[in-house]
């Protein structure tokens, strides 16, 4: 996001917010949060309950774009239930609930984006999580899974969107390979500050587009050889033509 903003002449300041720090998150343009190991997740969970939860919820309602990945995504939900049935509370800005699963869901993911106001876009990334996340009312899935597991490996959804918050299990890395997602977040940030009229100038994304196409083709290829869930009909409907074209050209 930083690079893509700077390439457009938008100056970016980066602030790392640590444990125990009380911060007015509405003063920021974009928020980002990743995941951690169980131990660290617990520390952040406590910090959210004691210090940051209210301020984060306020920022979300104020429309601050927020990208939360994996463990970060889970902590924005209502709770995370461990294997022993213990419930770690989230801050509940996303109406999602997560339960620990036995089997880790690991592998490449291809998914059709359901972000509003976008043409048909395909997300590609890598997931590695044992938590199974289920969406409640008032939150939309980020994408429809074509290859991989997504939120829970059952309902075909991946990630969650509420206002300008995007929660997702995809990394690997998700933004450079899906630059339109980075641009959506930057666009929301610019709109919040300067109004809806501003459009982001396009960038030369040839390297990104190539990497995206190669990653999708590779994910499909690997899924064929392994037992990764693939929704074949939807996959060929969404990316089939492109895959064929790619194979033809190489």
């Amino acid at each position: 996001m930083r690079r893509r903003a700077e390439w457009r002449g938008i100056e970016v300041g980066l602030t790392a917010v640590g444990l125990g720090e009380a911060v007015d998150f509405t003063a920021f343009d974009i928020l980002f949060m990743g995941g951690g190991q169980d131990k660290e997740q617990k520390l952040i969970c406590e910090d959210f309950q004691r210090v940051k939860g209210g301020a984060l919820a306020e920022a979300v309602e104020d429309g601050v774009p927020f990208l939360a990945i994996c463990g970060g995504y889970q902590l924005l939900g209502r709770f995370y239930e461990t294997g022993r049935g213990e419930r770690l509370p989230g801050i509940g800005v996303l109406a999602v609930e997560t339960c620990a699963g036995r089997k880790r869901m690991i592998g490449n993911v291809v998914a059709r984006s359901l972000l509003p106001g976008q043409e048909t876009r395909v997300l590609v990334g890598f997931e590695n999580h044992s938590g199974r996340t289920y969406l409640g009312a008032g939150v939309r899935p980020l994408a429809e899974v074509l290859v991989g597991h997504g939120n829970n490996g059952e309902d075909g959804t991946e990630g969650a969107v509420y206002r300008s918050v995007v929660g997702t299990y995809l990394h690997g890395s998700v933004l450079p390979k899906n630059p339109w997602l980075a641009d959506w977040l930057i666009g929301r940030a610019v709109a919040r500050r300067y109004g809806e009229g501003v459009t982001l100038p396009p960038l030369d994304d040839r390297v990104e587009v190539e990497a995206h196409a190669a990653a999708v083709a590779h994910a499909v290829e690997v899924a064929r050889r392994h037992r990764t869930p693939v929704r074949r009909k939807r996959l060929s409907a969404v990316v089939g033509g492109r895959l064929r074209a790619r194979r033809g050209s190489s």
Binding site: K39, N128, G172, S173, P176, V207, A211, A214
Partner: protein, 477 residues
């Protein structure tokens, strides 16, 4: 009877796979264990002295190799899983290979062991000692979390600690913590030279917090990653004073490294080894500490290091078509950072193989695969400090990116600020090698940084062109 049948079958598979041109690193063991599940335990029981386990994220293979050089010089006959096959099947294969060589009974088995296999290996081998190199984030797709890996190895050190020696890296808080409560029974090694460290660390750090109280550790110096001199501000935990130390470290780019080795109670000796990089100074210290525990005199152990070589694919230089191909395996962010730092290192007057004072731009071939042995999750590339390739642009010529994830690598370089014009995507490894050799002038060095399976494939391509022996031959000396 069963033992004999298992041995016979395993050895037959080994011979067959060698004849077919494969390394045969784990299949023979798998076949033999199928026939006799207790085979590894039986074979380990026949050793004259016993086994030594070497584990940790990075440096297992090189540490084992350095230790094997020292022990062989000291007259020990070894069983050693040289190929790096470090799961139970691989360990068994190493014993099968030794049994095939016949002759006198082996003294010591030197086993590099995958972290998750440590508890099982300790049960089967009942080792004399265990060496733990470091813990970095690596292939999280396999084990999930670093904490899980650390606790698996901790079970191993606890089991060995009661009867054997435990060699630990003092500079890695995650490793050093395994020695808590062990008193005099753990041997610590570490670097003590602030000049080769930094006051702050921009690279990925795995461990920031005290394992007892959770407070952020204070570092007075960082060597690399989270290795350094640290202390908990609350006084709960601090870096143990190392028993085996390297001071006055001199890094000579890709050519080698030298340091003053001090051992508590034994004095000092200067060591110059042809194995480069600060991370290999750590590997040498680990090997030395283990060798001293096994009774090798300090001066002899140090002398062996002077003529030690790194293992295949680990800073291995192979002459190809009049160029030097330097193969440097990469498998995680910290390892890759160390390799880049060493390759771009400001050597006093030399780097590479014999190119004294050459400061001309170097061509790179970066080959990234995402097969199981490489780690299927390639997001770790985004934690590597490739920005140095942009910052030291004058030292960098063309960068050819290759492998199953060539495009991801190209994308990473773009976001690191490397000019697109100097990056070329050639997914096929053979074609990529052709291109890289074509743009590299005769007499110059081509720097190749492949992931594990890409390294094996590239080595195979090079050896089929007649320039290098297969790795199982290369590792015999």
């Amino acid at each position: 009877m069963r033992d004999l049948l298992a041995l016979w079958a395993g050895r037959a598979v080994l011979k067959l796979s060698r004849r077919l041109g494969h390394g045969g690193s784990s299949l023979p063991g798998r076949v033999a264990l199928r026939i006799q599940p207790a085979l590894l335990r039986r074979l380990a029981g026949k050793l004259r002295w016993g086994s030594v386990i070497i584990t940790g994220t990075n440096g297992k293979t090189t540490t084992a190799r350095l230790l094997s050089t020292i022990l062989q010089d000291a007259g020990y006959r070894l069983v050693h899983n040289r190929s790096g096959a470090n799961l139970k099947e691989g360990l068994t294969s190493a014993f099968l290979e030794d049994a095939a060589a016949a002759g006198r009974r082996a003294d010591i088995a030197l086993m590099e062991v995958d972290e998750a296999t440590v508890p099982e290996a300790v049960r089967e081998l009942r080792p004399l000692g265990i060496v733990v190199t470091n813990f970095f984030r690596d292939q999280l797709d396999r084990y999930g979390e670093l904490d899980t890996t650390v606790s698996l190895v901790g079970r191993g050190t606890d089991a060995v600690g009661g009867r054997g020696f435990v060699v630990l890296n003092a500079d890695d808080p995650l490793v050093a913590a395994l020695g808590r409560g062990r008193g005099e029974r753990a041997v610590f090694y570490g670097v003590e030279d602030d000049r080769c460290g930094k006051r702050t660390m921009t690279q990925t750090r795995e461990q920031r917090h005290c394992l007892t109280c959770g407070r952020e550790l204070d570092y007075s110096v960082f060597y690399y990653g989270h290795l350094g001199r640290y202390a908990c501000p609350g006084g709960d935990f601090r870096r143990p004073a190392p028993d085996v130390r390297a001071g006055a470290v001199c890094l000579e780019g890709a050519r080698g490294a030298s340091f003053t080795l001090s051992v508590r109670g034994e004095g000092e000796v200067r060591v110059a080894m042809p194995v480069p990089g600060l991370y290999n100074v750590y590997n040498a210290l680990a090997a030395l500490a283990a060798a001293l525990e096994l009774g090798v005199p300090l001066s002899r152990a140090a002398a062996s290091l002077e003529r030690a070589r790194a293992s295949f694919g680990r800073m291995e230089v192979i002459p190809v078509e009049g160029r030097n191909v330097l193969l440097a395996l990469v498998k995680n962010p910290t390892g890759f950072n160390q390799v880049l730092e060493t390759l771009l290192g400001d050597a006093p007057a030399a780097d590479g193989a014999g190119e004294v004072g050459d400061r001309s731009p170097r061509n790179f071939l970066i080959a990234i695969n995402d097969r199981y042995a490489d780690g299927t999750d390639i997001s770790w590339l985004w934690d590597v400090d490739f920005e140095v390739l942009a910052e030291r642009g004058a030292r960098v010529g063309e960068i050819i990116v290759s492998g199953l994830r060539a495009h991801d690598m190209a994308l990473r370089l773009k976001y690191a600020g490397v000019p697109e014009a100097s990056v070329r995507v050639v997914p096929g490894l053979s074609e990529a090698l052709d291109r890289a050799l074509a743009v590299t002038a005769k007499g110059k060095t081509l720097l190749v940084t492949p992931t594990y399976t890409a390294m094996l494939e590239l080595r195979d391509i090079i050896s089929r062109r007649g320039y290098a022996p297969p790795f199982w031959e290369a590792e015999k000396t």
